[in-house]
């Protein structure tokens, strides 16, 4: 088992390295214009240079802060909405079409509306992040609650728990792995929404820094920032996955 896992990991690393090496060769051979794509080694250099710049680090901090706040709000709202939908089957049936087609809706079109309502700055960006991130938590919470053994509900009643305590002490812990899976997904959605919002109208954040580099023809810096962002997201997802595996093992 461990041997198979090691082999899979080796194949994965080999595939990524092969892709990077091929891209390096193509760029070094001059097959692609440097204004269109730079070699991975150049991206890496640009990334290191960008990360040494305090202004860029501040942008990363701002973006990360917006993502964290959006994810936290989405988690709270998503869990509450999930509990409500699970407790009220009629409401759930009414919302099912919206839930099924939520991510097919052009939610980003709401961004100007949010700017009108919330003004410019971080608030509409966080609001967009929340709008994108909440549904994955709702879906995961409802799915998790569906799988809570019926006997746990009975135990809560025998212990004479209030509905709030039943949710807090029994239902949410019972489906914590599923909820955490939804929160992990919501981090990705929040990143997409926050970066895209920063692309459009913000005067700060890593999304704005990438667009600024693009507009001023700093191709290497742009790719360096994209690489840094990609590595940050991979790192966060990897941490979340490990944590989720841990709570799944504890709760299995």
């Amino acid at each position: 088992m461990a041997h198979t896992r090691r082999r899979t990991r080796a194949y994965r690393v080999l595939t990524v390295l092969s892709g990077v090496a091929a891209l390096e060769a193509i760029c070094r051979a001059g097959c692609v214009r440097p204004t269109t794509l730079v070699a991975p080694s150049v991206m890496l250099e640009a990334m290191i240079a960008a990360l040494r710049d305090p202004a860029t680090l501040k942008d990363f901090g701002l973006t990360l802060g917006e993502v964290v706040i959006a994810t936290a709000l989405a988690s709270v709202l998503g869990i509450l909405a999930g509990l409500l939908l699970h407790a009220m089957p009629r409401l759930r049936r009414a919302f099912e079409p919206l839930i099924a087609s939520y991510y097919a809706l052009p939610l980003f079109a709401l961004y100007p509306v949010l700017v009108v309502i919330l003004g410019v700055g971080v608030r509409p960006i966080i609001a967009t992040g929340v709008i994108y991130a909440t549904m994955s938590v709702i879906v995961a919470t409802v799915a998790g609650l569906d799988h809570v053994p019926h006997v746990f509900h009975k135990v809560a009643r025998v212990q004479r728990l209030t509905p709030f305590k039943t949710a807090w002490r029994v239902l949410i812990p019972a489906c914590a792995p599923e909820i955490f899976g939804g929160i992990s997904l919501s981090v990705g959605y929040a990143f997409v929404a926050v970066i895209a919002s920063e692309f459009l109208l913000a005067s700060h954040g890593i999304g704005h820094a990438i667009v600024d580099a693009y507009n001023t023809f700093q191709t290497a810096r742009m790719y360096g920032l994209v690489l840094a962002l990609a590595l940050l997201v991979v790192l966060i997802n990897s941490g979340l996955r490990r944590f989720r595996n841990r709570i799944s093992e504890d709760g299995s």
Binding site: P149, H150, V151, F152, K154, V155, R157, V158, Q159, R160, L161, K165, R169, V170, P173, A174, A176, I247, D250, G251, S252
Partner: protein, 263 residues
């Protein structure tokens, strides 16, 4: 219980009476077992006694008060399914309900440690249920009920998923618990030998809609243990239970018990 009945209504179907006309008096400090054919409404009756389900007709009185739809103080329930919380340690599982009743930390600790010791789980206090066997997890659930010091303990086929040896040993522990706590115990089981060994009286239920067709007294002493199975009276009780249950089981299976058996 007086004239207890429970009907389940489903759209476009005939109303389904799970129980009808259930009359029974349980004495204080008694160990009472309930047996009956599959689907006769044993678990529904248990839910009604516990207050988890309201009867459609009739009434259940516990300590002079009518039980209906909410679990009264003084009743503890152990379910057939594994109801231990996998995210909590054994200690925290057992302490679960005590924090809700506002006991002090020292009192909670003393009660939990006693219950863990009593159920032979002291060495596993920091373990989590997935690390334990099925029998140990069921003991965690019994300990969680025990710490609340219920005056009536309801057990819904708590040993159904366990092997025969573990069931016998768990039965002995249950008898010890019953003797030492002075609680009244109602045990639902599908095992005739378990009912005959553990109970003071065994109520035999009919096929659906379930009601008691006979209550058989075992006349064991309060100090009994699993060795009563070698008592000649044990065979008589078990035979009597089976003779009553056989007809009801055939009826529950839709068989005409009066027809001659095929050659």
């Amino acid at each position: 219980m007086r004239g207890v009945g429970r009907v389940f209504l489903a759209a476009a179907r005939e109303p389904l009476w799970a129980l009808r006309g259930v009359d029974l008096d349980i004495r204080s400090r008694e160990f009472f077992a309930i047996i009956g054919p599959s689907g006769c409404g044993k678990s529904t009756l248990m839910d009604i006694i516990a207050g988890l389900l309201a009867p459609s007709e009739g009434e259940v009185i516990f300590e002079g008060k009518r039980v209906s739809g909410t679990v009264p103080d003084g009743i503890g329930v152990v379910f057939q399914e594994d109801a231990s919380f996998p995210w909590l340690s054994v200690y925290d599982n057992v302490a679960f309900g005590l924090e809700e009743i506002g006991l002090e930390r020292a009192e909670i600790d003393a009660r939990v440690r006693y219950a863990l010791e009593f159920m032979g789980l002291a060495a596993f206090a920091r373990h989590h249920p997935p690390q334990l066997s099925g029998g140990m997890r069921q003991r965690v659930c019994i300990a969680r009920t025990l710490v609340q010091r219920p005056r009536l303990i309801l057990l819904d086929e708590p040993f159904a998923a366990l092997d025969q040896q573990t069931r016998l040993l768990m039965g002995e522990e249950l008898l010890r618990l019953w003797r030492e706590t002075d609680a009244t115990v109602i045990l639902i089981t599908h095992a005739l030998d378990e009912a005959a060994m553990l109970a003071d009286r065994v109520g035999v239920m009919s096929a659906r809609p379930g009601h008691f067709i006979e209550v058989v007294a075992t006349d064991w002493s309060r100090e009994r243990d699993s060795t009563v199975v070698s008592d000649p009276r044990f065979g008589e009780v078990t035979a009597r239970l089976w003779s009553l249950l056989r007809l009801e089981s055939l009826r529950a299976m839709g068989r005409d018990f009066s027809a001659p058996s095929p050659p």
